[in-house]
Symmetry: C2
Subunit: 254 residues, 2 copies
């Protein structure tokens, strides 16, 4: 049984809480958040506190908080007994190095408030200053997910960057597509099976091999027709840059 | 029973063949392709031909061929009895207007050679010059898919443009992410659950509401760290343009 104190009340914290609170190998001792109203999700299941001074003893303290808050909270709980970890992809282990026992417990996923998703399929990227703490995080990890991998701070930063491309940027392209659909009075939902298959294809092919479309074919006619359809300058810039980059990857320039 | 002749041997043709050949409401009369070797997929199930002069009578002739070939093939079969349709998102109905009975039968999906996918979930966008032909395409459509929608050439062009954003461009971003993973020796597969959830989220949220990440938060520190990690100039340009566009959508400039 691993005793855990969870610090934070955002999307990651709430998703972690759900999976920790229902796991037989985990004893969730307490949830700490600055605002009482934000702790509602944990009420009735475990103890809650708004003051870090009231923190209870545990094996692992999980800081599921914003990147900026990590070093601040880490300092506030300096000297505590147990392993202190953060959950951030873009933050190094060094940011909580004031603890002799520190680590990282990064769930590589996008979390949405109010939408609980299964942790089983979420890769958990772990790192720890001390090897016995790595074992502890591995134990905690495998209790929650089928994929637990040791990733150091440098590699995690690269993974986080790659995640920005496949999640944040991809979502923005969806947003542009929705704009185009709205302007032209077509239903954005018609694109959803295509969006799903675009990802599903990669179970069998690399993205390099899966590439299709007018830019890859060097189909100038379609490229120019498309550009003439886009009214928004930023969207035209995105269309041009991505098409040119695809063309230069597969052939000549637009 | 709808009698169909299929012209073409590419990914769309092969996927259409699979679903047409096994559908009880469809009688697939013939498949025509320029090269005999490319017709293997249809052998033993239906008649095949390499010469358009040997085309058999049918209710619907489906031109599942490249955009450039559409007007050429349409001209070669001029005067034929029955409805002639193409399957292209970016090509107008006018391109085959030499037929008094012409239409469009556009499956909004990405097709991969050798990977057969279920048609049931694929939106079929139909258009026809004559209203009774629209009824015929609707009948053919509902035999194959749960989603059949009437979309005119202008709207279909916009939908095709939006499809480029959600499919071609998104896939290219996956490709960049794979590059970053390889350079930093992390496993690209770790990102796949995130890629799937990025799409799945949109069952509940609009992309505008689903947007997260450093650009949206205006997190300069992470944006600069990321830029310093990207060695390839084109990838840096993509990172900068998309981040700036997200920032200007949600706040100020990078």
């Amino acid at each position: 049984m691993i005793a855990v104190v969870l610090i934070g009340t955002g999307n990651v914290a709430q998703n972690l809480f759900q999976v920790l609170a229902t796991n037989p190998d985990v004893d969730i001792r307490q949830v700490i958040g600055r605002k009482k109203a934000h702790l509602n999700f944990a009420l009735g299941t475990t103890k809650v506190a708004t003051d870090l001074k009231e923190i209870l003893p545990a094996d692992v303290y999980i800081l599921a908080i914003s990147d900026e808050a990590i070093p601040l909270v880490s300092k506030e709980i300096e000297g505590i007994k147990g392993l202190v970890v953060h959950t951030s992809g873009g933050t190094s282990l060094a940011s909580i190095n004031n603890h002799t026992r520190c680590g990282v417990f990064y769930p590589l996923q996008t979390f949405t408030k109010g939408k609980m998703i299964s942790f089983e399929a979420i890769p958990l990227c772990i790192e720890a200053k001390q090897s016995q703490d790595l074992q502890l995080l591995k134990k905690l990890g495998v209790a929650l997910s089928k994929t637990v991998v040791e990733i150091d701070s440098e590699k995690r930063k690269a993974l986080h960057l790659a995640a920005v491309f496949v999640n944040n940027f991809t979502n923005y392209l969806y947003s542009v597509a929705e704009d185009i659909c709205e302007e032209n009075e077509v239903d954005f939902n018609l694109l959803k099976p295509l969006m799903k298959e675009t990802v599903a294809k990669l179970d069998d092919l690399t993205p390099l091999k899966a590439q299709t479309g007018p830019a890859k074919r060097g189909d100038q006619k379609t490229l120019h027709t498309h550009l003439s359809l886009i009214k928004n300058k930023q969207q035209r810039d995105i269309y041009t840059l991505l098409s040119n980059t695809i063309k230069s990857t597969y052939g000549e320039k637009l």
